[in-house]
Structure formats: structure tokens, C-alpha cells
């Protein structure tokens, strides 16, 4: 589950120290845009050391590396390659480049004797990337795709808005491609860290379009995003009832049945199962109706 992936600047020791306390599902240690060119070396060393020597349990650890064209990609990989690294987050992704990234990763894994492959979460943040989304989604190593709204808007020469209508098409395209490939669809971060209301609406929109999670640029955004992505108590109550009624119907060999006057069939049951899964509920007994 990657509902919240928190970006942490790779050159900020105090932030690294507390990165794991906020309840994010994953932490993206950033070596790219958050780090000035003059700080790249220091950040690379710090992030590498963090991955290799941090003694406490952490959520999934990812690193946003600098892309191949920057000339820093291979040095980044050398510093961070270890079994604790779950995946790299690769910026301004395109199909051709990701094949090359895959090849280099294989070499690094061999050289460092890693026990598991390093995954890739490409950031789709150019018009070309959006067009190539379907092809990218089936590349090896992919754990998900992340929409990068800011760079994409710059590439498209359009403005970002609070409501995000300008991202409707790439969002839809990316979420469908990810669903089809069975990988996570991660929505672009919401830039205004002081606008909790706007963030909630934005995250709800992403959820309604089929995204499984959202990138986070400030720890204070995490609970709001969790709130948007976690089903509300009424949904959970409904899902529990559907599952219970479905179990009864199965005993009676009924394919479809009625609940509160509405027809319940396989797709509805599947949706109910999805709601309980997202809520992290394994106990499917019917609970009291929420007030």
C-alpha cells in the first residue's frame, strides 16, 4: 500500500532523522529537485549513509535520483544501492531512457550483490511521458507511476490551478494504465502546504479517478491524504453489510441479490471488498452503523 509517499530533501539531516515518524507508507529521499547542484555530493553521501546505517524500522524507502541526462545518475546509484532501497523514483521518465535505467540497475545490483531487485517508480511529468504511459506501465521493475503535475504543466505551458482541472487527462490516462498493469497510481503532490481544504478536495479527486495514493511534500499533509483515501465509516459499514449479505446469498446459491432495494452482484461485491481492503479491515463482521 502506497497511499502516502513523503518527499524528504536528501540534504537535510534533521528531516531525515524524523522522516519515519509521520505515518507515511513510504519515504522518497530526494536527491533531485530539492537539492542544489552544489549540494549533490553531500546529499548523496547523507542519503547513502542513512539507507545503510539507520537502525530503526522504517516505512518503504525510495530515492528520487537525478535522471540520466544530468550526469549524476550513476553516482547516485552507487551511493544508495543496498537491500534497504525499495525503488528509485525516476524523474522525467520516457520509455527509451527507462530501458537504459533498467540495464544500469542490473549492473549495480550485481556489483553490490543485492538480494532483491531495485524497483522503479517513474515520474510522468512531460507530454511525451503522458503519451508513452501505456508502454511505460509494462516495463520491468515498475512498482507504480507517479504523476508530476508541476513539471508537466511547465512542459505543456499551462497553469496549475487549485482545482487541478488541467490535469484531468493525464490523471485519467495514468490511473488507467497503472490499473491495467497492476501497479500503483500515485498522484502529483498538492503544492500549497497551508491549504488543508484544497488538499482534501484534490486528494478526493485523485481517489475518485482511481489513484491508489498521493505524493506528499510536507508531513502535515499526511493525515489529510489518508482521510481522503481511506473509506469513510459509512462506506465501510455498507461494505461490511454487502459482504455479509453476499455470504448468505452464496449459501443459498444466489448469484445476485437485493440489499436495501438495490441489486448486488459480483462487481458490487468486488467494490465492497476493495473498500474493506483500503480500510485495512480483515474482520468482516457487520459492525454498528456509524452515527
Amino acid at each position: 500500500m502506497r497511499t502516502t509517499l513523503l518527499f524528504i530533501p536528501g540534504n537535510h539531516p534533521a528531516m531525515l532523522q524524523n522522516a519515519d515518524v509521520f505515518g507515511a507508507d513510504g519515504i522518497i529521499l530526494d536527491l533531485e529537485d530539492a537539492v542544489a547542484a552544489t549540494e549533490k555530493d553531500a546529499a548523496r553521501a547523507l542519503v547513502g549513509e542513512y539507507l545503510k546505517s539507520w537502525k530503526l524500522d522504517t516505512p518503504e524507502l525510495l530515492v528520487r535520483v537525478n535522471g540520466l541526462p544530468s550526469g549524476w545518475f550513476e553516482a547516485d546509484l552507487e551511493a544508495i544501492a543496498c537491500d534497504r532501497l525499495s525503488a528509485i523514483v525516476y524523474p522525467k521518465a520516457g520509455v527509451e531512457e527507462l530501458y537504459e535505467v533498467d540495464r544500469i540497475l542490473s549492473e549495480v545490483e550485481t556489483r553490490h550483490h543485492l538480494n532483491h531487485p531495485i524497483g522503479i517508480i517513474p515520474i510522468i511529468e512531460s507530454a511525451q511521458g503522458v503519451v508513452e504511459t501505456d508502454d511505460i506501465s509494462y516495463l520491468p521493475r515498475l512498482k507504480g507511476m507517479l504523476l508530476g503535475g508541476e513539471d508537466l504543466s511547465a512542459d505543456m505551458e499551462i497553469s496549475r490551478t487549485r482545482e487541478g482541472a488541467e490535469l484531468a487527462y493525464p490523471r485519467a490516462r495514468l490511473s488507467f494504465a497503472c490499473k491495467a498493469a497492476g501497479i500503483d497510481a500515485i498522484d502529483t503532490p498538492f503544492a500549497d502546504v497551508n491549504d488543508a481544504e484544497g488538499l482534501l478536495a484534490d486528494a478526493r479527486t485523485a481517489r475518485s479517478l482511481g489513484f491508489t495514493g498521493k505524493a506528499v511534500i510536507h508531513p502535515n499533509q499526511i493525515t489529510t491524504i489518508q482521510q481522503a483515501f481511506c473509506p469513510d465509516p459509512k462506506e465501510i459499514f455498507w461494505a461490511r453489510r454487502v459482504i455479509a449479505a453476499a455470504a448468505d446469498a452464496a449459501k443459498k446459491h444466489q448469484g445476485a441479490f437485493s440489499l436495501d432495494g438495490k441489486m448486488i452482484d459480483k462487481p458490487v461485491i468486488k467494490r465492497a471488498e476493495g473498500i474493506l481492503l483500503r480500510a485495512g479491515i480483515t474482520d468482516r463482521a457487520t459492525a454498528d452503523e456509524p452515527k
Binding site: N18, V21, F22, P219, T223
Partner: protein, 504 residues
Amino acid sequence: MNRNSLGREIPDGFYPYDGSEPAQARRPIAMKATPKAPIFLHTISDVFDALDVKDGMTFSFHHHLREGDKVLNLVMAQAAVYGLKDLTIAPSSIFPCHQPLVPLLDSGVVTGIVTNYMNGPVADAVTAGKLQKPAVMDTHGGRARAIESGDLPIDVAFLAVPRVDAFGNGTGRFGKSACGSLGYLDPDLHYAKKVVFVTDERVDELIKPDLDGRYVDYVVTIDSIGDRAGIVSGTTRITKEPVGLKIARDAAAVIDGVGLLKAGFSMQTGAGGTSLAVVADIRKLMIERGIRARFASGGITAQYVEMLEAGLVGALKDVQDFDLDAVESLSRNPKHEAITASQYGNPRYRPAPLVDDLDFVVLGATEIDLDFNVNVTTDSEGKIIGGSGGHADTAHGAKVCVVVTNLVKARLPIIMEKVTTVTTPGSDIDVLVTERGIAVHPRRTDLFDRLRGSGLHILPIRELMDLAHAITGIPVRPTQTGRIVALIRYRDGSIIDVVRTKRP
């Protein structure tokens, strides 16, 4: 040397701490009322001429103007001009603005300090051993007890009062230097041998004075008693810092989880950014559930004023004001009541001090140890950086005392085997909330049972310390082996710990 019940070495001749419950019994001495009307003077120098001041006397002050106070420096500068020596000063707190005191320590004008809190150059000088006698550090309630019981006899109380009338009555609610409640000067007013009001605003008559002129010997009017903007010397904004917000969220969840948020509850919190965030979270829960608190107490901020005005809190019990919104509210809202230091926290106050009526208090910690003892007096190198203030008073009185702190600050773990200095005994601390987990005092099985199943990450305090050590390593702590520079006096008058210089 004796050892008190916490195992701390206490010099001979002092009453060692032996638990927070049995307060040392001592009847109050008689209050003193001045038989005649106060005498009005024009300068501090006039007051010194009028008073029979001598070497070795004790002068007291209050700290309601906090970092904006000018009176202490003015009076002590006059004492130096007068050639006085071997004075003890007893201000309720000392701030960085009192830096001019430092040379007076060197020159022997001041050889003793009794206070509840000190921070800045004077605290540094005391730590360095520049004060001839050990400083005595009280709690806010303990200072009132000490004065009223005769443990701290005061020869002259020099009290900054923002507005004084022709009868010597005074108030802090109004005047160009209005700083609100004057709760901490109440014992000085009633028990000092001589009382001097230092004001910068005279009026004919105060309709509802807070301070009774019958206890006042002299009134001196000067240009300025201080800068009231200086009362906003602490953090008065809700933190935006994510770790602080997480700690606050969890602290509010603890308070809710143990069942304290019910109609008619009472609370106190500090004025730090995290404490303010706890209040903000509690406020949200109160609004959601339609709960109203009976009262909030302590140092009052704009946040509590807003809650009073929104009807979320029935009354504010105000012993000091931390911002100008609070001062303004005290001057106009009858539900915003000023209380005295004794009413607030004196363990001998009868029927009971207000702290005993608190459902919960949220406090900070510079260090906390495996026995839950808290240090807010020194840093880990033994340098004096604060003091109890109301910490030990409220921790003892409140039904539940929640300490909020980062587990690691400035690369140092906050939990340790033994705190450098004990300010508040661990027996009075119930819950510790950090960003990496929550520890409940083993004595509070009731709280532990209530929090079970809450989803909060609760673990033994030793495991929390181990988590901190996994980040920082195990620090080597310096030991203080030198002479005693401060005695930490618990609220009942016993000595709970001492502060020493680093080397003999």
C-alpha cells in the same frame, strides 16, 4: 551530606525531599498591614532614603512584565549606588533583560538569589559560581508557601504596579504598562516587612483595585516600569513544525483516550508551540462533541481567551498573562479571573490550591529519566536554563500530568537513566508523549488500561530511550562535581536536588 528519597545528595542543614505527598507543615506567619496611608515619593533614590536599608537584606520583585521588566534593574542599580552589600534578591523569575545584575554578583552587592525560574546571563553567572551563596530555586506555589511560612523573609518588596491610586491601591489590568494579572506578587504584598509600589501611572481612585493599599508603605512614580510588549517572551503561536504537531495530536488523543474530555473538565497547558497545538486539537474535539470545560488556568494566552469567548471554557483562572490579548481580556471579561500564587499552587493553601482541581496538565521537559523525573531547570551540561515555575505544582495537583517533548533534541536523547537535575519528581508524571511513542508511568495502570486498543504506540520508557539511542548513540554525560550553586526547593520546602559547578 544526606541523600533524599530520590537518591540525590543534599547538603546538611536542609530538609531533604521525601515524596511529593506529605508537604512540610508550617503555619503561615502573620500578615502585616501598614497602619497609615502610603507615602508617595518621586524616585527610587527617595525610597532608599526613606527606607532603613542595610547590608544583608532581602529585596523581592515579581516577573509579570517578564522580558520587559525595568524595575529590578533600576532598584538594584540604586542598591549599588547606595553601596549596599550582601543582598539577597527574591524575584519570582529572572530573564535575560536582567543582565545588569551580573556585575552586582561579581562585586558582592548581591550574594543570594531566591527565584522560581532564571534564564540568560544571570543564570549563566550563577551556573559559573559567581553568586556567593547557592541560589534557591522554588516553584511558583512553593515561593508563596516560603514567603507565607517565613522560610523566605522579605525585608523590602519592590513591586512594579501598572496603575496605582491615591490610596496606594493598585492594578495590573490598566495603565500604559498594563500586564494583566499580578498573581505572583500577592505573598510579597502581604508578608514583606516593607512594601514599595513602583508605578508609572497614578490615578485618583481605582474602582476595583486588585492590590490593597493598606499593605503598601511607599509608592514611587517613575517614567516607565517596563515595556509591556516584553510579556510576549515565550512562544505564543501554535507550532507548524510537523514533529511538534504529531506530538500534540498524540497528546490530545491520550487525554481523550483516558476519558478526560467530558463536560466540565479543567485544564492547564504551557505556552510553548506544542502545548498550544495540543489545545488546538482539544478545542476541535470539544467543538465536535459539544463539550464545555469548567476552567483553564495558568499563564493565559490569546488562544484561551478565544475559547472563553466562544463559550468553550467557563472561566479563565489567570495567575499571569503571556500576551496582550490576555491582558485586554482580563480587563473586561468577568469570567476571566485573576488568582494569586497561593490560590494557584501553594501546597499550604486551604481548602486547596487550584492545581489540585485540574483534570490534566500538559507540560514540557528538558530531560526525563527512567523514573519519569523531569528536569526543566538545567541543560544536560548542568547549566541553569529555566526552573520549575508551575511545573512541579501542576504536575502534583492535576489528576493526569502529560509531558510532551521531542525524543531527540539537538542530537541529544531527552530520556536518560537519571536526569541531570530533578525539578519535578517522577511520581507526579503520568504520561510521556514523544514523536516515536508514548510511555505511561507504571504506577498508572488505570491509564494504561484505558489506552489499550486506542491505536496509540505505547511502550515502556526504557524502550523509548533505546529508540533514541539507536539514533544518537549513547551520549557521555558530563558530571558536575564542583560546589553547589543552586538548591532546587520542592514546593513543600524540602530540597529535591542541587546544581553544582562542573569542577571543584
